[in-house]
């Protein structure tokens, strides 16, 4: 039995065999209190029961010594499915993909020490993008904490800067309340990851405790905003009604806060142009005429120009990230800024808001829409004609056609064509995950997302290796949906071991490997800022990806010529029950444009092509 445990196993084994003395059923009714029977459970069973109470259906994890009691409790029930990954980082990204695509918290279970530290990158990824996640980490027994014992890491300490909150359990009796709090904190307000560190002795199968799951929580120190300030909302409406060059800048908060319908209504009533951030794609439909494309470092010409020239900026669920603002002092120089966000600390952090509104996107925009609905009837003729002129100006910027693809001599596949081909083959209706780099920007720009939660990428942390496990989490949550992972040969190799997990659980996702034989985004910067000195930015010894995926039992294709691309792509997506890996060899010299000029540039300072500047 011991030998079958993988590398993160270990720990003390004497306690593990005690389960044999227990009846197989985790539920024992042997205590009567106040006239009714109380369940007596071990800490491990209490933990799993608590997860059941939170309606958890999947746990993504990897066992090891300190988590063995918990894993035994997982084994003895069948309401929650456990997905065994090949590396804990992938477990966190799978839970993340599950959470982003459903809006429900992802749940991760790992062991102490290396299990916990391997999860860190995925926790940081979720933290940066405000994704609800609960991470349960095994910990060495309480009496060994602080003694540098085997597989001991101070998980609460290591994860502190990258979690919304964390708990170190001190007794089994606090398990129900802590789990309840963890899920509430992870999912409410600005969502985020919450760690529960569980010392092994607390999950001991022979120590039984009364299990009562709390129905309500009292937390005097945590009460996220539930409504925006009505005076501020009225002020915002007045400014919006007088806006001659309005602009709506919407971010990941609209996706996470499920505020897409409210945003669409507001934009359409106002007849205002809308841009989405990388995290906000899909919150406003990309195929709508009012959508001007993504903004920021690789935003479209029209989105960045409209931002720079607007007179009123309505920012919703966005945080004025450095990849959006370029030089802060030159950002939207003539705009009155209204900023709606659930997190007060996001407001006026980098760019000072003229009208801050703290609250959930749905309620704030509902309140705002109610005022605008009546106010718009009286919008002055002056404002209306200014608005018409604004749209004409935007139409002029659109003429630039900043996403036009130069096909060169047509002998090489351009990476943009790959995304266009995926878009065509999936009818624009797939869940698309991505890794990080050029392919991510191409996917964001060329796949037109019309619905929220369809575009799944690591925007804040920029985590290579995110795409494949995230796609797996999405597929588990949406087994009937088409799920594509757009990746590159650099990123995919950071979690490629999960092809094995895909085989075990039968996850027929489609992996589109935009293969340029180099770390494309790094290479692009080396081309542009380091006179082409490609320091360690190419891949010299790539695997034969087709053979590699075949060895895992999947289907692999390789395509190198533009003529074959669409045909092969159709075949990839026609194999609905197979994991298909498409290795597309693309032009290695391609750059992502537009690109903001930095440092010291504003949003209107862009590279539009190699050597072509605004």
């Amino acid at each position: 039995m011991v030998a079958s445990v993988a590398s993160n196993g270990g720990g003390s084994w004497h306690a593990v065999d005690k389960w044999r003395e227990l009846p197989p059923c985790p539920l024992r009714l042997n205590s009567v209190r106040r006239g009714f029977q109380v369940e007596m459970l071990s800490g491990a069973d209490m933990l799993i029961r608590s997860l059941q109470e939170e309606d958890v259906d999947y746990i993504f994890g990897y066992p090891g010594g300190a988590a063995l009691h918990i894993y035994d409790a997982v084994f003895k029930q069948n309401r929650i499915q456990h997905v065994l990954v090949r590396h804990e980082q992938a477990a966190t990204h799978m839970a993340d993909g599950y959470a982003r695509s459903t809006g429900r918290p992802g749940v991760v279970l790992v062991t102490s020490g290396p299990g916990a530290t391997n999860a860190i990158t995925g926790i940081a990824t979720a933290y940066m993008d405000s994704i609800p996640m609960v991470i349960i980490s095994g910990q060495v027994p309480s009496h060994l904490i602080g003694t540098d014992s085997f597989q001991e890491t101070d998980m609460v300490g290591v994860s502190r800067p990258i979690v919304k909150h964390s708990f170190l359990l001190r007794s089994a009796t606090e398990i129900p309340e802590v789990v309840k709090k963890a899920f509430y904190i992870a999912t409410s307000g600005r969502p985020g990851p919450v760690v529960i560190d569980v010392p092994k002795d607390i999950t001991n199968p022979t120590d039984l405790h009364e299990f009562v799951y709390p129905e309500e929580l009292v937390m005097r120190s945590y009460s996220p905003s539930s409504r925006g300030h009505s005076g501020q909302i009225r002020k915002a409406a007045d400014i919006l009604l007088r806006a001659e060059r309005p602009m709506i800048y919407s971010g990941g908060g609209v996706v996470q806060g499920n505020g897409s319908p409210q945003l669409r209504k507001l934009a359409q009533m106002m007849n205002a142009p809308v841009t989405n951030t990388l995290m906000g794609l899909g919150a406003y439909p990309a195929t709508d005429r009012q959508f001007v494309g993504m903004l920021g470092m690789h935003g479209t010409y029209e989105a960045n120009m409209a931002m720079h020239n607007c007179d009123v900026l309505l920012a919703v669920g966005a945080r004025f990230d450095d990849r959006i603002t370029n030089t802060v002092s030159k950002f939207c120089p003539n705009a009155t800024i209204i900023h709606v966000d659930i997190d007060p600390a996001s407001i006026s952090k980098t760019v000072t808001a003229d009208v801050p509104i703290v609250g959930p996107v749905i309620s704030v925009l509902d309140d705002l829409n109610a005022i605008l609905e009546t106010g718009l009837e009286g919008r002055s003729a002056e404002v209306n004609s200014a608005l018409a002129a604004w749209w004409e100006q935007i139409a002029g910027w659109r003429q630039q056609d900043s996403l036009k693809v130069d096909l060169g001599d047509g002998s090489l596949i351009k990476p943009q064509q790959v995304i266009q081909s995926v878009y065509r083959a999936t009818g624009g209706d797939a869940f698309v995950t991505s890794d990080v780099g050029q392919h991510q920007m191409f996917a964001a720009l060329y796949y037109k997302f019309d619905e929220p939660r369809r575009w799944i990428n690591s925007g804040g942390l920029g985590t290579m290796g995110f795409g494949l496990p995230a796609a797996m989490g999405v597929k588990i949550a949406h087994p009937d949906a088409t799920v594509a992972c757009i990746t590159g040969e650099g990123s995919i190799q950071m979690n490629i071991q999960e092809l094995s997990t895909c085989g075990q659980y039968g996850l027929p996702i489609k992996i589109i490997n935009v293969n340029n034989r180099s770390l494309g985004m790094v290479k692009q910067w080396k081309d542009m800022q380091y006179e082409g000195r490609h320091s360690h930015s190419y891949m010299d010894s790539l695997p034969d990806f087709v053979k590699l995926v075949e060895s895992y039992g999947h289907v692999g294709f390789k395509v190198t010529s533009p003529e074959e691309l669409d045909h092969v792509m159709d075949e990839v997506f026609s194999l609905t029950n197979k994991l298909v890996f498409l290795d597309v060899w693309v032009d290695p010299e391609e750059h992502v444009y537009p690109m903001l000029v930095s440092p010291n540039g504003s949003l209107r300072d862009m590279w539009l092509g190699k050597g072509v500047r605004t």
Binding site: K164, I185, M219, S221
Partner: protein, 163 residues
Amino acid sequence: MKRIISVLIENEPGALSRVVGLFAQRNYNIESLTVAATDDATLSRMTITTLASDNQIEQITKQLNKLIEVVKLVDLTEGEHVARELMLIKLRATGAQRAEVKRTSDIFRGQIVDVSNTAYTVLLTGTSEKLDAFLQAIADATVLEVVRSGVSGLSRGEKVLTM
């Protein structure tokens, strides 16, 4: 500008490390920090002094408020307040210095709380500026050891920071 922030925080293990970690992680400065349980044993009260601009202090208070364990906080420097610090200072006290140290200590209303053949330990409370002034005044004496408590403070008048 120097700011004094008072924080009511759940009296739980790890809560202090979150506050200190936040300051380090976000590159904020801590001049001094005091913390102890209040009359309500479930709550601790912290006093943090920091050097920060108006924008920075807004971010610091917002980020502190985001910590789940932080119940309430106030920037004391926004209004009238009293703030005091305690200092223990051990000085070489031999020969003529013995009388001089005693005299200076009396002027500052300090108390000599420990005496040996060669040293005095002086206890002094007051504003941070007063403690600084004492250190300057006894510059000629040999200072063996200094410990300062950091600032504790309250708002003046009726204003209170409680649950």
